[in-house]
Symmetry: D2
Subunit: 270 residues, 4 copies
């Protein structure tokens, strides 16, 4: 079985310091947490930025500062920038940080609901972001909040806007989007096109069992405070403890952990 | 097996006279087509309205005129009014025709994509529409464009905003939403809560086989020019020919056709 | 969609005249029923023989007599001879009628249970029968009573004992073997190797809906008094009425009916 | 999630000392291995016996000797005796060791194939064994080699021959029976009746990932040299190393390990 890619998603748009002291929000906190997770086995960092008030932002300067600090620390983790719907208003907003030419960026290929708003990614926006990533040689990670988004990605590939292997992240457990059940996960995996590279990102208490199923099926795993502020019932998580648990399961099952160089090979990028 | 409810969806928002001469757009054309379909076995009419220019509208006067003409013809078919995302801008727009107290109305319980726009139904809009339907005793038909919308409906039911039996319409084949495959249909059906009443509404050439699968599984069928302008490759459909084909398949398999009174019994309304 | 192959299984091993007057048991009765079913659209006859006491037999003379009478009537239906476990004790018994070089013969690729006995087809027997069919250019129809038999057939193909396209008959509803549910049928179909030709043969009241699902999925259908002595609740079936119903459903859905020549093309035989 | 029951199957009918030095075959070797596995976390021992030549046997004296030695060691592991098809010729043979009143015994509820023979368990045999177990208060573990056996068990329960909770062991990867794929495992699990207790027993290289999936789904795991003589590619397994790996995965995922007392509670026995 292929080595396991562990992605850490340290911050996201939702957790606040009031919810958990363990969410990193300043560029330095984020970079530090990512570097610590790299030491434990994470090979990719899925990065959101926050402004001075701790609010989600797509402004390039915050992303630039996070990346600068990662460089400063000499951390070779693969950088992936979020273009998600919660932080930006316009397509231009959402694309702004792509000018930093990160190795990867997220790309949701359809619309669904969040708990209190719509997760709107209309066809024009998707094409717009996909084209920028194609031009800048940024590997899109296709964020799948519901089943239709898989076929939307396949159509985008047919239209020449995505390169193989398609890289999927199956997001389960966001209220308003696909619930985190084994049946849903299994169905999504069966619905992927051949030769896909895929991971799961599971919100809520099912994140450990569903991540294990992904690991058993040859998929990869994203964890982090973005997705789960709890490690277990009543116990707050840190990015490091979440990464460690996945790495420990991988070791117990005998699956090797991918390095950033392995990620490049698996994703087919350089 | 329960009697088969055939719903006719004569108009929708997309077909134009330029695309097919068989799409009814004026209130009289729509009422006439519905009455003819009732004679062939349709028991429910899923109604969209068009304004004087033939464009989709949620304005109550057009719906009122269609219903008036159906009454005039003495057609007992069950009236279902669309609240779909394409015709109205605001929640109030989309709810406007509910003031007519139709027996039923459509309610999409989540967001997805259309071919060139987003199908936005955010949580607040869904609740708003569901509450009006509950107060006015209008049976919501839950329009499922992707898997997550089933669970969203279940949550709405838990919140007291829907009455049992939940009434689902599984929409497959809209570009940007769930593709029309047997696997997707089967998965949606397995994902429904117990005791649901459900139909399919399939866009594209798979609409005959997938409708048959629904009929074999005990589900119901919606057909009409809204969903398919073609009867078969190269042959334009009329609402009547589409209804007739489903009724013929039902007869051949030995499944009885529901009357409007049967619909009331099956839906648990009066 | 490919034309629909309707196979008639007029007799089987189980039904007796005491159970239904409509089961043909003498060679003349069997040939006459098959010829009548051919006129209604059946393109393949799945043939069991009975001895003078009406008991199942693998003796070649009874099969020879049935085939002779079909020839006499000039009926061009494709002949398929059963090698099933109920009628013969030894491998030689079960292979005996293959000496008649029928176009096709049944081949169960594994063991399961019947209502009161085991349906034993051990690996050596399967290979023995497969080899004879291969040498004599008899197209094996792989009788799948449970999931494992599909993979057993795939292994047999890998071993060079089966030619493509593999021809499967999915048998559902035999007590002790796989139950007749949509979920089981759908799972079997998903488990078939690519490019398979397949039909269903469903025992019990689910045979109409499951046959429809098969027809909708591009599969073919076997019907007959062997599988169902009832046409509907309380109404005894004849082979002709069972064939007619499937043909009527096919016509209503717009699927053409295969002739014996179509069968040869679809099966890749001559 | 319920605590994880780890069952060790140290010997089986197939492995020989020539194949692996690590298969225990004498009563002392077997008892010693079981006791060592108990120390590592196994709570149930699935026991086959071998005669003086190391051949599979159902003779009671060999089973008695194994149990005596376990008692002598004070090992509280739950005893489960195999009644499998390979070692005994007649129903009486296969039931012989049930006279020892073990806590549990295996019961295959249907027929399938082994690599070179049929796994014959006809309806009369199944009833015969089930009745003895019911009378003697022996908990049957239902050995599922293919899908139909689940429904056969459900029918046996309806007939009053099994007590709830039904206890299933899903056997995947025996050549001739159901192949060891995630899809097959997932389908079997979905086919179980509500409130079942279940484990997997996977033969071949997929045994680690499929066991993980079972653990993630709330199922239990059987491992041992009976099922796998290899720990990983080219590395021979011991019963202890196989048990340890499962326990390590369970610890890494945070699932507690069941004791023999937990097993009694989970199985509803005393
Ligand atoms: Zn994110
Ligand atoms: Zn509509
Ligand atoms: Zn037969
Ligand atoms: Zn065993």
């Amino acid at each position: 079985m292929e080595k396991l890619i562990v992605t850490v998603a340290p911050t996201g748009n939702v957790p606040t310091k009031a919810m958990t002291p363990f969410v990193p929000v300043t560029p330095e906190e984020i970079a530090e947490d990512i570097a610590a997770c790299y030491e434990k086995g994470a090979a990719v960092a899925h990065i959101h930025a926050r402004n001075e008030e701790g609010r989600p932002t797509h402004e390039i300067k915050f992303f630039a500062e996070i990346l600068r600090r990662l460089d400063e620390k000499g951390c070779p983790i693969i950088r992936q920038i979020s273009t998600g719907a919660r932080a930006g208003k316009t397509a231009q907003d959402r694309a702004e940080a792509l000018a930093l030419n990160p190795a990867s960026a997220s790309l949701a290929t359809g619309s669904s609901n969040f708990p209190t708003s719509a997760n709107v990614n209309d066809p024009a926006l998707i094409e717009y972001l996909a084209k920028i990533m194609l031009e800048r040689n940024i590997k899109p990670e296709l964020e799948i909040f519901d089943t239709a988004m898989i076929n939307n990605a396949v159509q985008l590939h047919k239209a020449g806007l995505l390169k193989e292997p398609l890289l999927f992240n199956l997001v389960l457990g966001v209220k308003g989007s696909l619930p985190a059940t084994p049946k849903n996960l299994f169905f999504l995996v069966e619905s992927l096109p051949p030769n896909s590279v895929w991971s799961v990102s599971v919100i809520g208490p099912q994140h450990v069992p569903l991540s294990m199923i992904a690991m058993a099926l040859g998929g990869h795993v994203r964890v982090g405070v973005e997705d789960n502020i709890y490690y277990s019932k009543g116990v707050l998580a840190t990015n490091v403890t979440l990464v460690e648990r996945i790495v420990n399961i991988a070791k117990a099952m005998g699956r090797e952990i991918a390095t950033p160089d392995d990620v490049k090979r698996i994703w087919g990028v350089n």
